[in-house]
Symmetry: C2
Subunit: 144 residues, 2 copies
DNA sequence: ATCTTTGCAAACTTTTTGCACCAAT
DNA sequence: ATTGGTGCAAAAAGTTTGCAAAGAT
């Protein structure tokens, strides 16, 4: 549950360079995301942060995530119904969600490259993958 | 705003064959979907239905859409944040949404075929496209 | 000292649920 | 006459907002 300090520091540094204030809440959110190295819901981040700083409010988590997203530090995706999941922006990956068992697999975005090219050629559309998951059924559920 | 009667009748027929009751509310929802021939939010369907039947409640719209989905008559997709959109299940298409201007384009699912094959080969995953939109920027917004 | 950010409470949006009544078969 | 569907009101789930007070620079 401990985040690599230098990674967290680098991101805090980045905040300061952009003229953003570095608060307890913000450091804690960054900490949670770096520590998990994974996708977390706002609620999970909140729980995580409140272990160390019980006074930090859910609303602050959302506002912090907004700020971090504007700075290009975080992104969120939707895996299905329910809450969005947040992760560091450098962990670029597409999610594949089984609608039967809920299992989430990460797939390299390279798989989407051809689709991206076609959409650009045919429609002039610049795809930004990873915002929405790919929905379907995983191997186990599909063969039932 | 008038739906092709035979199309609506066919779907009502289908309900009856499956042992479902045919109510004013259900016929009205089917009517709205067939008439629009497009994707509508639950709220839009509700508004539409209430023009003819003001007593029909939003909750009934949701329950009806659930039933119709179980019967394979309707599906819903997510185009972004905000409400899901519902459409007849036979109108199978992938949505492409511009996150800048909100413009929605429908693209044939054939474009996704290769991706589908690779996911199946590499992961055993059976993709069900169309549940989530593809997000990105349309030609105009991308070239700004 | 200044001006952002926070905590709180309350609103908001979309969807779901419990329950008594109504209506389709 | 049955049973399933409906209307209503209320809650749930996820997220956003207004405001006064606290805190970072």
């Amino acid at each position: 549950m401990n985040a690599p300090v230098e990674r967290v520091d680098a991101l805090c540094q980045l905040l300061r360079e952009r003229g953003e204030r570095l608060t307890r809440a913000r450091r804690a959110v960054i900490d949670a995301l770096v520590a998990s190295g994974d996708h977390l819901t706002a609620e999970q981040i909140s729980t995580c942060v409140q272990e160390a700083h019980p006074e930090v409010h859910r609303a602050t988590i959302y506002r912090t995530l907004d700020t971090l997203t504007e700075l290009g530090v975080t992104e969120h995706s939707h895996l299905g119904h329910g809450p969005a999941v947040y992760h560091l922006a450098d962990e670029l990956h597409q999610h594949m969600v089984c609608e039967a068992c809920g299992d989430v697999t990460e797939v390299p975005t390279s798989l989407l490259r051809n689709l991206g090219k076609r959409l650009r050629n045919d429609y002039g559309f610049v795809m930004r993958p990873t915002h929405f998951a790919i929905v379907g059924q995983c191997r186990e559920c599909a063969t039932d």
